[in-house]
Structure formats: C-alpha cells, structure tokens
C-alpha cells in the first residue's frame, strides 16, 4: 500500500514538475498544443482518420513550427456522440495537457458541450465538422471551417426553382441535420415561388423505403430533396428510388452533398447516377491547390481515395489555428486569437474561403454537382458554382 502511495506521489510530483517546466519555457520556443477531439475508433473511425491525415498533410506542407513555437496536435478519441465525455476530454486537454486550442468535433452535441469550458479557459475551439448552425451562437470562441445544411441547401433550392421545378417532396431522416435541411429547403423554395407538396420524415434507422417511395409517387412531385446520414441508409434510399421506378418516371433527385461523398460512391454504384447535389468540396474539384493537396496526401498515405469534406474541414481548420498562433505571437488568449482571424480570407483546396466576422463560420463557394461516370469511376462532377455563400442558418432560431 505505502509503496503504491509513494509511486503515486512521485508520479504526481513528477507530473507537476514537468508541468512547471513546460510553463517556464515562456514565450520563446514553446510547444503549443492543439487538442483534437474526434472519433478515432468505432463506426465513425474514418472521420478521425481523415482529420488526422489532413492535419499531417498540412504540417508536411507548412512545417510544424510557427515562428519559434512548435505546434503539436494531441488526439483524443470520442467514438460516438457523447457530450458528457466530450466535456471531460476537453477538461483533461485544458487542465492536464495545457492545450492552447481545441479542435475537431464531428457531432454537434460534442461541440456544444465544451462551450462553458472554452469561455472560462479563454481558449478557441475550431470546429472541423459539426454542422448545426446554432453552435457558433453559443460561444464567441467557436470558429467553424466546415459547412452547415443551410449553407448547402439554400443555393440548391434556388437553383431548382430556376430550373422551372414547381412541385417538390422533401424526404429527410428524422434528426437534427435532417430537420435543418427540410426547414432550409422549404423556406427558400417557397420564397422562390415553388411549392413543397409533402414533407416526409423517415426514421433514422429505417432501411425499408418502399412506402415512402409510394408516397412520393402519389404526390405528383417533379423532384425530391433528400437528406439522410451518409452510408448504408443513403445507399438503401437511392436503390429504392431506382427500384420503385421513380427514376424512370423522371422524378429528379436532389440533396446536400453529404449523401454522395466520395468514399461512399463505389458502394452506391449506378443507383447514384444523376443525383444532383450541392456541396462545399468535391475530390474532383479542378484547381491547382486541390491537385497539390491530393498529391501530397497520396505521397504521404499511398492513396487519396478517402479524401472528403472532413479532410478539407480539418486542413483549413489547421490553417486557421496556424494563423491564430502566428497573429497572437504564440500567447494563449482565445478571444484575441478569434478576433485575429475574423474576416480572414484564403485559398483552400475547395476554393476561396472567408471567415465571416459575425457568425465565425466560413463563407465559401458552393458547387452544384451531378454524379457521373468518369473513366469508369463515379465522380461528383461540378456543373456550376455559387460564390460567397454564407451560413444562412445563423441566428434563424431553432
């Protein structure tokens, strides 16, 4: 017993001493830690992997130092949406690891959970994904480099109205992002003169879509706006859409780009052909910056097939954090760091980005894409671009 106690005490003493050591390093040549909370195991492990790889690509391109300071990323695994654990991990990162920045966050509740912490510790949190508009309203220290459903849906709804489409059915999964998409679509499309003839909310875990297909057929709609979580559910939905003859009947399939993200396209197969989506990033985006990003990714990890929207979210997030460190001279002051990047613009693999000073969310180009076969490989081929789209959902309310 006493032996254990002694070991424990020694450990604590050592821990404290090394903590002081790091603190005493002061302004020159300190190591600035960035805590990344994301799923690195379990069903969403792919997301964490894309975050980690994108950060590695960024560091390979820009080095691991900013000025005299070394930037070190610390990864914490949060395998599923679990806000209480997210908060405990953030607490540990701040108190024990002494991180100066928090980043990552795939699920909305996990991002929301750290709001009181980042305010009290005065630490910025850069969100790589979590896409509910309301997050950045909860603390002035959130900056987001991903997208929101409003941001993707509004240009899509406007485009559809311009195409002369009058009657649309919305079919969304019954959870936060789905409802967000439905609300955004309905508001925009009806304002543009179209009518939403039916709003279908499908159970999140359902894989049998035949009854919904019948409802869509009966409604006499010309097109559907669909949003489901990426993966098997979208696959089943797209298959049911083709199998029930809706595709042959000429009903057109629209949705936000999450549903046809690159890693899922091979599984979706030919059922996905012709799906029209709007999104902030496509692997096939034609720009020098994107080509360089993909090439570096391939060089480091052997393949760039897994590169997707979460990759650019993390890549641009790393850029924002580097800029914050550079502009604050390595001093840890969250409020100042966020102020320093308000309004900043840069060129990303996905196109030009600007951080909106009010919403602290990226204003970006949203692309209209159609799933087509290019050289035998399914791709989201960009057809049009809508420049400078802000987060339309900011302060819209629930």
């Amino acid at each position: 017993m006493t032996k254990h106690l002694r070991t424990a005490l020694l450990c604590t003493a050592f821990g404290l001493a090394s903590g002081w050591g790091a603190g005493a390093g002061g302004a020159q040549a300190a190591t600035i830690k960035v805590g990344v909370i994301a799923p690195f195991s379990g069903p969403f492990a792919m997301v964490g992997k894309t975050f980690k790889e994108a950060i590695a690509v960024y560091q390979a391109e820009h080095g691991t130092t900013v000025g005299a300071d070394t930037v070190e990323f610390v990864f914490k695994d949060l395998d599923q949406a679990n806000p209480a654990q997210s908060k405990a991990l953030a607490q540990e990162l701040i108190v024990k690891e002494k991180v100066g920045y928090l980043a990552g966050f795939f699920f909305t509740p996990d991002a929301l959970a750290v709001a009181p912490l980042i305010d009290e510790a005065n630490i910025p949190a850069v969100i790589f994904n979590a896409a509910t508009s309301a997050i950045t309203e909860k603390s002035p220290r959130y900056v987001r480099t991903s997208f929101t459903l409003w941001q993707n849906t509004v240009p899509l709804a406007e485009h559809m109205a311009k195409q002369g489409i009058k009657k649309v059915v919305t079919a969304v999964s019954d959870y936060g992002p789905g409802i967000d998409g439905e609300t955004a679509f309905k508001a925009t499309f009806e304002k543009a003169g179209g009518s939403v003839v039916d709003t279908i909310r499908m159970p999140l875990k359902s894989n049998d879509f035949a009854p919904f297909m019948q409802r869509i057929k009966d409604s006499g709609a010309e097109a559907i706006y669909a949003f489901l979580p990426a993966g098997p559910t979208t696959l089943a939905f797209a298959k049911a859409f083709a199998d029930n003859g809706l595709k042959d009947k000429g009903i057109r399939f629209f949705g936000p780009g999450d549903i046809t993200q690159e890693p899922d396209l091979p599984a979706l197969g030919d059922a996905a052909l012709g799906i029209t989506t709007t999104f902030n990033y496509s692997q096939s985006h034609d720009s020098a910056k994107n080509k360089a990003f993909l090439a570096k990714h391939k060089e480091l990890f052997g393949s760039s097939d897994t590169v997707t929207f979460t990759s650019v979210g993390a890549y641009d997030g790393a850029h924002v954090i580097y800029t914050m460190i550079q502009k604050t001279g390595g001093k840890s002051d969250g409020a100042k760091a966020v102020d320093a990047v308000k309004g900043m613009s840069w060129e990303s693999p996905r196109g030009p980005l600007t951080i909106n000073p009010d919403s602290r969310h990226v204003t970006q180009t949203i692309y209209l894409r159609v799933v087509e076969k290019v050289d035998g490989k399914l791709q989201n081929v960009e057809k049009a671009a809508f420049a400078d789209q802000p987060d339309y959902g900011y302060k819209v309310g629930k």
Partner: protein, 350 residues
C-alpha cells in the same frame, strides 16, 4: 485499496474460528461472521478523497466515473438483488438526466433540487414501466427493457423543442452548491459533489438491501414460488425495487447533467445500458461495492488505453474483459473473496 474490506473480514473470521475452538456452544451463531461491510463506505470516501489529491488534473474523468458508479449501483439493486435481467437501465438514467436538464434550463438552478427532480423522474418512469413489464421473466423481460429504452430515446429525439433532439440539451448552468461552491473549470466542486452523492447513495443502498424489504427481494430472486407460498407478492417486491433503483439511476443521470452541463441522446441509449451491465459483471453482482469497483476498473482501463492508443484501444479493452471473464468469472470482487478464502484456509490449518 479496496482489499481492506475482505482482509478485515478475514481476520474477523479467523478470530471467530479461534473462538469456536474454545467455546463450542457458540459455534452456530458465529458461523455467520459479524458484518463488516460498512467499512466499504468510508473506504470509498477515503479513496475518493485520496484520488482528489493524487490526480488533481483528471477530475473531469473522475467525476464521470463517480456518476457512472452510481448508475451501475442502481443496476446492481435490480440485477444483483432481484435477479431482474435488464438492458434498460439507461431509460431511467436518461429520464433523470433529461428531466433535471429541462428543469435546470427553464426553472430550477439549485443542484440539490435538480438531483431530487432527476431521482423522482427516474423513479416514476421505473415504477410505470416496471408495473407493465415485470410480469415477464428472462429473455422476454430483457427485450421489453430494451424496448423501454428505445421508446425513451425516441421521445427525447422527437421532443426537439424541449430536449434539443440529436443536438443535445445544452445550457444547463446550475447555481453554486449551497450557494458557495461554484462549478469550476478544473472540476473540483463537481468531483467532491459527485463523491458526496455517491457515498450517501451507498449508505442508503446498503440500508435498503439489508432491510426486510431488501431481504424479501433476495428471496424473490432465489425462489419466487416460495415467496408467494409465504403470502408475499413477488411482482410487488420486484416493481418496488425496480422503482427504487430507478430513483438511483435518475439521480445518477441528474448528477451527470449537473456536472457536465449537457445531456445527449446517448444517455438513454442501448449501448449505455449494455455498458452498465459490463461494468457490473466486471466488478461482481449483488455486492454493491462490485458496482463501484467494476466502474472504476472499466473506465480507468478504458481511459488509459484510449489515451495511449486512441486508434486501436478497443481491441485491448476486449482482451481485458475476456481475461476477467475467463479468470474471475464472478467479477473482480469475487477474486478478492477467493483470495480471502485461501488465506482463511491457511489460517485454519495453522
């Protein structure tokens, strides 16, 4: 640290053995050793305080462990003392967390009042669902408990205006405890608050399982037919204990809501129910302290593995669980007991 309990019990038993040798007429009553289980409560309190000093920068994790221990304790009341096989404990935990969270956002800010609200909510839902489903046994009951959890989770998902749906219920900002101790960032208040709640809960749970009511529940677990032959109603006992456990789970949920400031759909999920079962079996069922030890062991190992290798830790935790199940089938506490048994036999020989 926990080994203090069994070893104390052992010395007690060897004393008893010696006394038996000298005074044979007293043999019968002394065969059941004097109960020293109460030592566990101060041991938990002291160990908890020691952890507070030893790991001052891990209080976030430690607070979660304490709240989870309370939750697993509630499962032990149901499974360990009534033999109710359930995968639905998260329904009560989630209800307690959500009701306390909603109360905190809209009306109440006192942390103790929030715990009470969560406990009442958890107890009520357990009473209502328990009365409906506890006529079933075994696998049927298991399925029904899973169904109850799914319903609670779906209600929480649908009632978006109240619960925030899949975005989680945020904005829970309780007042300082007793108006003096603010919930700080490092988590000192949260931790000590949770520790106090757990210790009180252990005392209450101990009192309950040793009361005539608790003994009757154990009777139902062992032989329900006999209990009804004696004039008792097995179902009434089960429902009552189910509701009592619901109160504990509700308080645990409210404790999580108060200390973390947010409630998510995961708090009423199937996997959270299953995890409680894993932690309880790991520690040992029907012992109360097994719940605490199992939770501490599981979550500490989970945390250490996930911190050292955030990418492959799940494999190692699987191996760890298999190891425990293979070598200590009755849980960690049973290992201590077996050790104590060995020592005793040696003592008897000497």
């Amino acid at each position: 640290m926990m080994s203090a309990t069994p070893s104390a019990a052992t010395s007690d038993r060897t004393d008893a053995a010696r006394m038996t040798a000298s005074s044979p007429p007293l043999a019968a009553p002394l065969k059941t050793p004097r109960d020293l289980g109460w030592i566990g409560v101060p041991v938990v309190a002291v160990a908890g305080l020691a952890a507070f000093w030893l790991f001052p920068s891990d209080l976030g994790l430690l607070t979660r462990i304490l709240a989870a221990a309370l939750y697993v304790l509630s499962l032990d009341l149901v499974l360990g003392y009534c033999g109710i096989a359930t995968l639905g404990q998260a329904a009560m935990f989630g209800t307690g967390a959500y009701v306390a969270g909603i109360a905190a956002v809209n009306w109440v800010a006192d942390p103790l009042a929030l715990l009470a609200i969560g406990g009442v909510a958890g107890g009520l839902i357990a009473l209502a669902t328990g009365a409906l489903i506890l006529h079933a046994r075994g696998l049927t009951l298991l399925m029904l408990t899973v169904a109850v959890t799914q319903i609670v989770q779906e209600v929480a998902n649908k009632a978006r205006d109240w619960t925030g749906g899949s975005d989680g219920l945020s904005g829970i900002d309780p007042n300082p405890v007793f108006g003096a101790f603010r919930f700080d960032m490092v988590g000192r208040t949260s931790y000590l608050f949770a520790l106090a709640v757990l210790v009180v809960a252990l005392l209450v749970a101990r009192r309950i399982v040793r009361s005539p009511f608790g003994l009757a529940c154990r009777g139902v677990k062992e032989d329900p037919l006999r209990v009804s032959a004696l004039g008792g109603s097995p179902k009434a006992y089960l429902v009552a204990m189910y509701a009592v456990a619901g109160v504990f789970a509700g308080v645990a949920g409210a404790l999580t809501a108060v200390t973390s400031g947010i409630v998510g759909l995961d708090s009423a999920s199937f996997s959270w129910s299953a995890e409680a079962l894993v932690m309880l079996v790991l520690g040992g069922t029907g012992r109360l302290y097994g719940a605490v030890i199992g939770t501490v062991a599981f979550m500490a190992v989970h945390h250490i593995l996930a911190a050292t290798d955030p990418f492959h830790w799940m494999l190692f935790i699987g191996l760890f669980l298999m190891g425990v199940v293979l070598f200590l089938p009755g849980g960690i506490l049973s290992g201590f007991e077996r050790l104590a048994g060995l020592l005793r036999r040696k003592g008897d020989k000497a």
